[in-house]
């Protein structure tokens, strides 16, 4: 059934996979990105374009999984996986997550302190 979503431009070289039609217009979970792996593997093409033209949003987790998936194909397969037609929000998320992979979490976050409350005192203080 998934083959309906492939548009093979050149049977042996390149295929186009419409991500929104196959999954959803908002990509949230890691699982759903991993499910794309099977669709990519189903294609005979050497190069697969993941077409994000109808995708409105991608979560940070899904973006991270997508970057890892592309990396995995790049290292362990002769298939090339491209992300094409992504809107500016999706592109930005992919860029932020990719950049973040080489930047450690800040010490400000790691050493953050908290007020301590009971739930009753918190309810009273918030009014």
């Amino acid at each position: 059934m998934f083959k309906a979503f492939f548009k093979t431009k050149n049977k042996e070289s390149r295929a186009n996979l419409n991500v929104a039609q196959l999954v959803a217009e908002t990509l949230n979970s890691r699982d759903i990105v991993l499910s794309l792996k099977n669709n990519i593997l189903e294609s005979n093409a050497q190069e697969v374009d993941l077409d994000f033209s109808e995708v409105r949003f991608i979560s940070r987790s899904a973006a991270h999984e997508l970057i890892k998936l592309r990396e995995d194909f790049s290292i362990n397969s002769d298939k090339k996986v491209n992300v094409v037609n992504a809107n500016s929000d999706v592109s930005n998320m992919l860029r932020v997550v990719a950049a973040n992979r080489i930047v450690p979490k800040s010490s400000e976050i790691l050493n953050r302190s908290y007020n301590r409350e009971t739930i009753e005192s918190l309810v009273s203080s918030l009014g």
Binding site: L22, V23, A24, E25, T26, L27, N28, S29, R30, D31, I32, S35, R56, F57, S59, R60, S61, A62, H64, D89, N92, M93, V96, V97, N100, R101, K105, S106, I109, L110, R112, Y114, N115, R116, E117, T118, I119, E120, L122, V123, L126, G127
Partner: protein, 284 residues
């Protein structure tokens, strides 16, 4: 079967809603079957009603709930069973465009689960308007926090529910699981023994319950998007501890004493966005 009386929350805040359901469940065994009496409850906010729905469904408790003041609302949101497919959600939303029913998200539903989340996000966005950047800040916490349910809980289902209060000017969202909780996830996945409070602070540091050091951003960045980006409030309950933050940046670890929840409850409140919002600074 024991009948549990649910008290009306004394205030509107998220902690007050939480206190109401936590007190109702106080002293019950994890899987004890009960009947809930909501006759005293005037407003069934998500942070109060969704944990009760999850409790009823996961324990097989009697779903015959008495609720003098809120019966028609509870019927409209399909309490407690909710809906678990795109087709049933579409059907319910056509019947009543003001409410989105309780959604039961199934781990293995694949694209159907993804579309349920999308429809829920679309509903929230439809209520809160279309100011530039709003869609990102609406979809982001939904996606990350629901994803987290399935990452840490090991349960096959999770729950999400939301309600817009136009006269109050905010939208409440609640996400629930009845899994092993955050401390249980650290114990099982990494062999680390944390109290519930320690587990929550580790999550907020971005230390994932998974071994992948590149993970662990979802909850903390979602909290930042809600509290800093949207000027809202955010509460996370796991076991006998909780975290509460609001727009004034008052971050508090909350000792629940003899109260508690098996699993995780996350509630957040979003005021209607008035200005364009850029999500990028909160993604870290």
């Amino acid at each position: 079967m024991k009948t549990v009386i649910v008290k009306n929350p004394s205030r509107e805040s998220l902690p007050s809603q939480a206190l109401s359901f936590l007190k109702a469940l106080q002293g019950l065994d994890t899987a004890e079957k009960v009947t809930f009496n909501l006759d005293e409850v005037s407003w069934c906010c998500p942070m109060l009603i969704l944990p009760l729905a999850a409790y009823i469904l996961e324990t097989g408790s009697d779903s015959v709930v008495t609720a003098k003041k809120t019966t028609s609302y509870l019927n409209a949101i399909k309490f407690p069973k909710g809906v678990n497919s795109v087709s049933s959600l579409e059907q319910q939303m056509q019947k009543n465009k003001s409410f989105v029913p309780i959604s039961v998200l199934l781990r293995n539903a694949g694209a159907d689960r993804e579309r349920l989340e999308q429809m829920f996000g679309d509903f929230v966005l439809g209520q809160l308007g279309s100011i530039e950047g709003t869609s990102n800040v609406i979809y982001y916490p939904i996606g990350e926090l629901v994803g987290n349910i399935f990452e840490h809980s090991k349960k096959e289902q999770g729950y999400i529910f939301g309600q817009y209060y136009p006269s109050k000017g905010y939208f409440d969202i609640c996400i629930v699981d009845r899994g092993r909780g955050l401390s249980g996830a650290y114990k099982d996945e990494k062999g680390l023994s944390f109290t519930d409070e320690q587990a929550i602070t580790e999550v907020m540091k971005g230390n994932s319950t998974k071994s992948d050091i590149e993970r662990g951003y979802g909850v903390r960045t979602s909290k930042r998007v809600v509290c800093e980006g949207l000027k809202g409030s955010f509460m996370l309950i796991s076991g006998k501890s909780a975290l509460y933050c609001d727009k004034d940046m008052k971050d508090a670890i909350v000792d629940l004493g003899s109260l508690g929840w098996q699993g995780v409850v996350i509630g957040y409140r979003i005021p209607i966005p008035k200005n364009p919002i850029d999500i990028t600074p909160y993604l870290e």
